[in-house]
Symmetry: C2
Subunit: 353 residues, 2 copies
């Protein structure tokens, strides 16, 4: 869920918010037990796929919400009044015995990056809910075994998470999926917060988190060994965290010799955040500090580069750095050898080799 | 590799350094192409298992090192003169065309926590090298498909990594394994450093890192959603990082509102580090800040507890906190709900639910 799902929290309409990445989802209505007005009809083993349209205000695509009030995403505006995703049905709206809810981290996004536990949990789930891009990446055996797939494009993570919870409260075993790990800028917390707001409990749906490989580690592996010592992860998105807090954290991380994993580094509306970040890093670190940049990890447009810190700011205006990019900044001891970033752990001071 | 492999870098003989956790490894000599004086004989598909004894000074158990000088581990003493693991053979000692070297993170340790990519890479490897505990956890299909398993007990990570590299330089396809992720306080960097010291290159052995789920994420999943915002990981082991540096990092992390994942929190010889850590956290965070403690994740003696920060120091003297424990400290907004730790991402300020 890490890199990409956080994109959804971006305020930037330019980055594709509201645009569907999948062109072929079937907007079928679901016949399985859904929502507060639960019908007992089941889908007979056929997979139905429901595409949510979180930018539509009328919520017509949501077949499973409890009393489904307007859960229009509104992503694309930074004003609270416009961005509110309201979730409304409470636990009392559901009559069925609840099913299970499981938040699954898919890791780097490709099926082979998934743990066997994630695969097993997906195969056991009746409904799978997620961002369209990740639902599209699921292996066929998983999509075929599910009764229903519900996917929405970017920016609908609150309404999508509510949809998953409503489906579980209505009696289905539901998996909500994302890339990376559910704890890294992702949906584990949101699921618990929405469960609470509905008057439900985590126990009621046997809420479980299946961890995945976070973007920092997927990208670190591609770069060699950039993160082998104490490390900080910081998101440059100020949609949910104020910029002065982010700046203060960057100062502290850079000053204290942490290696730094930067999530959500750049978007058109946040050019200034990226510029400021580079300025802060340059204040505390040598200008030739190695910086690893991984764009679109595991995708067709993947690019991996190692540059010097002084070059980083300029790259903000290139295709290399956008919301699908993770940036790993070395510490004072990080060096580049044979094309790899190496952050020594300190063995060389204890052992001869 | 994260939590447990770092144990090996501990200076604490009490934590089991030098003691073998496996009681039944067969100390067979290997017939496959090993070492500088490479023989062409292969193992005929039979798996041989070689148990290294890194605490033996005579290195008799190492069948594959190049010119294998004394690579006694010495773990257990904190003096450099005594702890040195010397690695000596260089790339020139090997005549064969090098094989491949791949550093694989197994994730939480149990086979189901492994990614499918890790499983695939293990199945393709001729030799698998690792800490005995993790080699013992490998699924049967993996151990059966390998030509050779080489495992050593705790504290031999430098000599074990050299062994893996020598085997690759001697022409074998080698996997070096550990729990967690190879970038989190683990072997990815050490492998590159030793390759360099031997005059080899990463390209020469097609060096690759297969990422895994780090302990912070495995443990975070067990606790709910403790790490959903900017996060720091810090190891309390001062074997390779000076304690003043660790303290300074703890101050910065606690002051700046990061959630904090603490690795290697306690051992008998480092009681003071843990005490100091608790004192620093209490200086900056409310005494009722939620703290998640996961002991022995995925093992028979697993325990998961959520406590308040004020209770943490006292737990240092209990079985709950040792070198197999990961501690996740909430930030100012983290709360406990229905037995789970929840660190809000900030949605509640943007959305109504």
């Amino acid at each position: 869920m890490s890199t990409d799902d956080t994109t959804e929290t971006s305020t930037d309409t330019e980055t594709g918010c509201g645009a569907s990445n999948a062109s072929n989802e079937a907007e079928t209505e679901s016949g399985s037990k859904c929502g507060a007005s639960s019908s007992e009809a089941e889908a007979d083993g056929d997979v139905t796929r429901t595409a949510g349209t979180p930018t539509d205000a009328d919520e017509s695509a949501s077949t499973c919400g409890g009393s489904t009030p307007s859960s229009s995403s509104g992503c694309g505006s930074s004003k609270k009044s416009a961005t509110d995703e309201k979730v409304g049905s409470t636990v009392d709206d559901f009559e069925a015995d609840p099913g299970r809810l499981i938040a699954i981290g898919l890791g780097p996004g490709q099926p082979e990056g998934m743990t066997q536990r994630a695969r097993g949990a997906l195969l056991e789930s009746e409904h799978i809910v997620g961002y369209t891009t990740y639902v599209d990446l699921l292996p066929e055996e998983v999509t075929e075994s599910a009764e229903e797939l519900y996917d929405t494009p970017m920016c609908g993570e609150v309404s999508r998470t509510e949809e998953a919870i409503d489906r579980a409260l209505a009696g289905n075993d539901v998996a909500i999926i994302g890339s990376g790990d559910p704890n890294v800028y992702a949906l584990a917390g949101l699921a618990l917060e929405i469960l609470e707001s509905k008057g439900a409990t985590a126990r009621m749906v046997d809420f479980e988190v299946v961890p995945g490989v976070p973007a920092a580690q997927s990208c670190g592996a591609r770069l060699g060994a950039p993160l082998v010592n104490d490390t900080v992860s910081i998101s440059l998105s100020d949609h949910l965290t104020p910029m002065p807090t982010i700046e203060s954290r960057l100062h502290a991380a850079a000053k204290e010799g942490f290696t730094i994993a930067i999530y959500n580094p750049w978007s058109r509306k946040r050019r200034e955040n990226f510029r400021k970040c580079c300025e802060i890093l340059m204040e505390h670190r040598a200008s030739d500090t190695p910086v690893g940049i991984v764009h679109g990890a595991g995708r067709d447009d993947e690019r991996v580069e190692v540059v010097e810190l002084r070059e980083l700011e300029g790259l903000g205006e290139t295709d290399l750095v956008d919301m699908t990019t993770t940036i790993l900044v070395g510490n004072e001891e990080t060096y580049v050898w044979d094309g790899r970033m190496v952050t020594p752990r300190g063995y060389e001071s204890k052992y001869d080799y």
